[in-house]
C-alpha cells in the first residue's frame, strides 16, 4: 500500500517537474527563435535598403519604396521593443512582418532598377548619337576651315609677293 502511495506521489511530482522543464525549454527556444527572426529580418531589410538605394541611383522613383521600408522599420523597432520586454513570441511575429515587407521591397526595387536602367539607356542613346555626330562634324568642319584659311592666306601671300616683284621691277625700270 505504501509503495503504491509512494509511486502516486512520485508520479505527481514528475508531472509537475516535467511541466516546469518543458515550459523552460519552450521559453528558451522562443528566445532563440526571436533572436534568429530578428537577425533574419534585419538582414533582409538592410538588403532591401541597398536595393532601393541602387534603384534610386539608377533614376527610379523610389518614394514608394521608402514608404514601404518605413513600415518594415516600424515592425523591426517594435520587435526589438518586445524582445527587450521579454515577449519573444511577439518579437518574432513583428520581426517576420518586417522581413516579409523587406522581401517585397527588395523585389520591387530590383524590378524598378532594371526598368530605370533601360529607360535611361533609351534616353541616353539619342544624346550619345547627337554628341558623336556633333563632335565629328566639328572636327571635319574645323579641318575644312583650316585648309580654306591656309589656301586664302597662301593666295594672299602669293599676290603680295607678285606685287612686290612688280613694284621692284617698276622701280628698276624707272
Amino acid at each position: 500500500m505504501s509503495v503504491l502511495r509512494f509511486s502516486l506521489v512520485l508520479t505527481i511530482l514528475l508531472v509537475f517537474a516535467s511541466q516546469t522543464f518543458v515550459s523552460l525549454t519552450f521559453a528558451q527556444t522562443s528566445e532563440y527563435e526571436a533572436t534568429s527572426a530578428l537577425a533574419d529580418a534585419e538582414g533582409v531589410v538592410v538588403s532591401a535598403y541597398q536595393a532601393a538605394l541602387k534603384a534610386e541611383e539608377a533614376g527610379a522613383n523610389a518614394s514608394g519604396l521608402w514608404t514601404q521600408l518605413n513600415k518594415a522599420g516600424e515592425y523591426l523597432a517594435r520587435a526589438h521593443t518586445e524582445f527587450r520586454l521579454g515577449d519573444f513570441e511577439r518579437a518574432a511575429d513583428f520581426a517576420n512582418l518586417g522581413k516579409s515587407i523587406g522581401e517585397e521591397v527588395k523585389n520591387t526595387a530590383l524590378a524598378l532598377k532594371d526598368s530605370a536602367l533601360s529607360e535611361s539607356l533609351q534616353r541616353m542613346v539619342p544624346f550619345m548619337i547627337a554628341s558623336v555626330v556633333s563632335v565629328a562634324l566639328i572636327t571635319l568642319g574645323s579641318l575644312w576651315v583650316w585648309h580654306l584659311l591656309k589656301k586664302i592666306t597662301a593666295t594672299a601671300n602669293f599676290r603680295n609677293r607678285i606685287r612686290v616683284v612688280i613694284l621692284n621691277e617698276y622701280q628698276i625700270l624707272s
Binding site: V46, Y49, Q50, A52, L53, E56, A62, S63, W66, L69, N70, G73, E74, L76, A77, H80, T81, R84, L85, S120, M124, F127, M128, A130, S131, S134, V135, I138, T139, S142, W146, L149, K150, T153, A156, N157
Partner: protein, 195 residues
C-alpha cells in the same frame, strides 16, 4: 600674314566646341562632387509643435507629449534609428567629446528611412508610474517599460530630476551596422507628486 601662328588658338577653339557638343553625354557619366555640407538634423518640439512648452514639472500617471524629428541632408537616402533613453542625474550621459553615445540601454526606439532633403517627424507620448523619488515604469506610446530608477532630492533645484533623451544613429553601409551619428536632444523632467 602667317596662319601657322594662329594654329594653337584654332585647336583650342575647336576642342572647346567639341567639349560643348559632347557635354550632354558627358554629364550622364561625369558627376562632379557637391561642395555643400552633408549633415542630419535632430530636433525636439513641444506638444504644440513648437520649440516651447516642453514638459518639465511632470506628475505620475499623466501623459505628456513631444515631437521628435529628423532632417536628412546627407546627399543620399539614409536609414536612421532613434534610441529613446531615460536616466537620473547620476547616470551617464553621452560623451560629446569623443562622439560616443550613452552607455544606457534604450527604452524605446524608432527606425525609419529618409530620402535626401526630406524630414521625418513623429509624436512621442510618455507617462511615468511610481513615485517622484523612484520611477518604476515609463510608458512610451502606450507601451510600459520597467525602469526602476531612483533619484536623489536636488537641493539646489528643489526637485527629483530625470532626463528623457534621444540619440540619433545612422546605418553605415560599410560597417553594416548602426553607428551613433553624434546628434542628441533631451529634456529634463522634475517629477512631482502634485495633483
Amino acid at each position: 600674314m602667317n596662319i601657322k601662328s594662329y594654329r594653337d588658338w584654332f585647336i583650342v577653339g575647336t576642342l572647346a566646341l567639341m567639349l560643348l557638343a559632347a557635354s550632354p553625354t558627358l554629364a550622364t557619366f561625369v558627376h562632379l562632387p557637391s561642395d555643400s555640407a552633408k549633415f542630419s538634423e535632430l530636433w525636439l518640439l513641444g506638444p504644440g509643435h513648437k520649440a516651447e512648452d516642453y514638459p518639465f514639472n511632470v506628475r505620475m500617471n499623466v501623459t505628456y507629449s513631444v515631437y521628435v524629428g529628423v532632417g536628412n541632408h546627407l546627399g543620399y537616402s539614409a536609414y536612421y534609428k532613434i534610441d529613446v533613453k531615460f536616466r537620473n542625474q547620476t547616470q551617464s550621459l553621452l560623451d560629446t567629446s569623443n562622439s560616443s553615445p550613452s552607455k544606457l540601454n534604450s527604452t524605446y526606439e524608432f527606425r525609419f528611412f529618409l530620402a535626401d532633403g526630406k524630414i521625418w517627424e513623429t509624436p512621442l507620448n510618455f507617462s511615468f508610474q511610481g513615485k517622484p523619488s523612484s520611477v518604476r515604469h515609463i510608458s512610451v506610446n502606450g507601451i510600459a517599460f520597467p525602469v526602476n530608477l531612483s533619484s536623489q532630492w536636488n537641493q539646489t533645484l528643489s526637485g527629483f530630476y530625470y532626463q528623457l533623451f534621444f540619440e540619433l544613429w545612422l546605418f553605415n553601409m560599410t560597417a553594416q551596422r548602426f553607428q551613433y551619428h553624434n546628434r542628441s536632444v533631451g529634456i529634463w523632467l522634475n517629477m512631482t507628486n502634485g495633483a
